[in-house]
């Protein structure tokens, strides 16, 4: 009398499924522009303009003095 099979042999994983590439959401042009142009531009532009404001209005402050000293080392 044959014993019942307790652990049926596992099926081999489907190779087709395993190798299926991960499908990514296509990135829209708008989000690309926002993420790579607009937001970085605002960030860097804001930093630069903030520096311009500080340099013009607090031209004798310690920040401007330090920056001018630093630039003076190379120029």
């Amino acid at each position: 009398m044959a014993q019942p099979v307790r652990n049926p042999p596992k099926k081999a994983p489907d190779k087709a499924l395993e190798k299926a590439p991960v499908v990514e959401e296509p990135q829209s042009r708008l989000s690309w522009i926002l993420g790579w142009i607009v937001i970085p531009g605002l960030l860097f532009g804001g930093l630069f303009l903030g520096g311009v404001y500080v340099g013009a209005n607090n031209h004798d402050g310690w920040i401007a003095s330090a920056v001018m000293w630093l630039f003076g080392l190379f120029w």
Binding site: F44, L47, F48, L49, G50, G51, V52, Y53, V54, G55, A56, N57, H59, I63, A64, V67, M68, L70, F71
Partner: protein
């Protein structure tokens, strides 16, 4: 082991330090540019952003001790303006005379403005005879300025802004027609007036002329149908551009219209030569001039009294039927809108 740790630390430092260095570098570049181009940046802040900054190398507007103007007591408010004259000038009788309304003006504290004219002003042509006598007869008129709230928002320094405009306008008018403007007061309006008749009843505190500085850009001169032998006592002043002297040409045009001068067409020879009565936008760099015809008109009108148009319809004495009725002046709208057609009486 120690080498690996050092490597990891170096990687970590690069990973965090590089973005920080880029950000600090951007800010530092800005500081360097701002420091190197300080004059241009400060000029931009003052002229375009309305900041109250002092540009190095330019004459500082001297704010000496405040000049306390004397309150005018129980002067007629509208129909009996008191241009201060050195000699009595024979003028035509004003169309209307009303009872003097006593007012209790509050003293206005104004700073003295010694800012030089922002535009070049060539010497006016010499006059002779009667015109020369009128030019040499100085007349002072007191002006009260009402400021559009929109302009006050855009120009946080609106008090100083108006003061220097009146000072500049007075300089030009004194040289051209011998008329001095005295600033009687500056008041910020609550709402932008749609029509000058809305502000006509504003308390004048003894001022001869009410000028409304609006934030609107000049497009074309307002249509004014003035008196023959009197001057309007209220006028709108438009801006030309956004500089710190944006209302100067508008002020001169407004005073010109008050004094009976006629705006010129854009193709007029005098307009091309730069007369401020030319109904065109003119760049700030052009010199200030006044054409000869309008100059003579203003020289004549400067001695006339200032009268409210709405009161012109209530003559104190009946006009004889054979005498021509003087033209009824009309007040322009502030926004220079075309007047609505009048409804015909049934």
């Amino acid at each position: 082991m120690a080498l690996a740790r050092v490597k990891n630390l170096a990687k970590l430092t690069l990973l965090i330090g590089t973005p920080i260095a880029i950000l600090v570098g951007m800010f530092s570049c800005g500081v360097y540019c701002g420091h190197e181009n300080r004059d241009a940046v400060l000029k931009f802040e003052r002229d375009w952003l309305g900041f109250d900054v002092t540009v190095p190398g330019e004459p500082v507007p001297v704010k000496t001790e405040p000049v306390k103007t004397e309150p005018v007591k129980t002067e007629p408010v509208k129909t009996e303006p008191m241009p201060v004259k050195t000699e009595p000038v024979k003028t035509e009788p004003t169309p209307v005379k009303t009872e003097p309304v006593p007012v209790q003006p509050e003293p206005v504290v104004l700073a003295k403005v010694e800012d030089p004219l922002p535009f070049p002003m060539p010497e006016p042509a010499p006059l002779s005879g009667d015109s020369r006598a009128k030019l040499d007869d100085p007349v002072r008129i007191s002006v009260k300025v009402l400021v559009d709230p929109a302009l006050a928002v855009r120009r946080p320094d609106w008090l100083a802004y108006v003061q220097r405009h009146i000072a500049w306008g007075s300089l030009v008018l004194e040289k051209q027609i011998g008329l001095h403007l005295d600033l009687a007061g500056i008041v910020k309006l609550v709402d932008t007036p749609r029509d000058l008749s809305e502000v006509q009843s504003h308390a004048r505190e003894g001022a001869n002329l009410l000028l409304v500085f609006v934030d609107d850009e000049f497009s074309r001169p307002v249509a004014v149908n003035g008196f023959n032998n009197a001057n309007l006592d209220v006028m709108v002043v438009h801006a030309v551009g956004r500089s710190r002297s944006a209302h100067l040409r508008g002020l001169l045009l407004a005073v010109g219209q008050v004094l009976g001068a006629q705006p010129l067409g854009p193709d007029d020879e005098a307009t091309v030569q730069g007369s401020w009565m030319g109904a065109v936008r003119v760049e700030d760099t052009r010199p200030i001039k006044l054409d000869a015809t309008n100059r003579l008109i203003m020289l004549t009108h400067k001695a006339y009294d200032f009268t409210s148009p709405s009161l012109a319809g209530q003559p104190s004495e009946p006009t004889p039927p054979d005498e021509p009725t003087p033209a009824q002046p009309t007040l322009p709208t502030v926004h220079d809108e075309p007047a609505l057609p009048e409804e015909e009486a049934p």
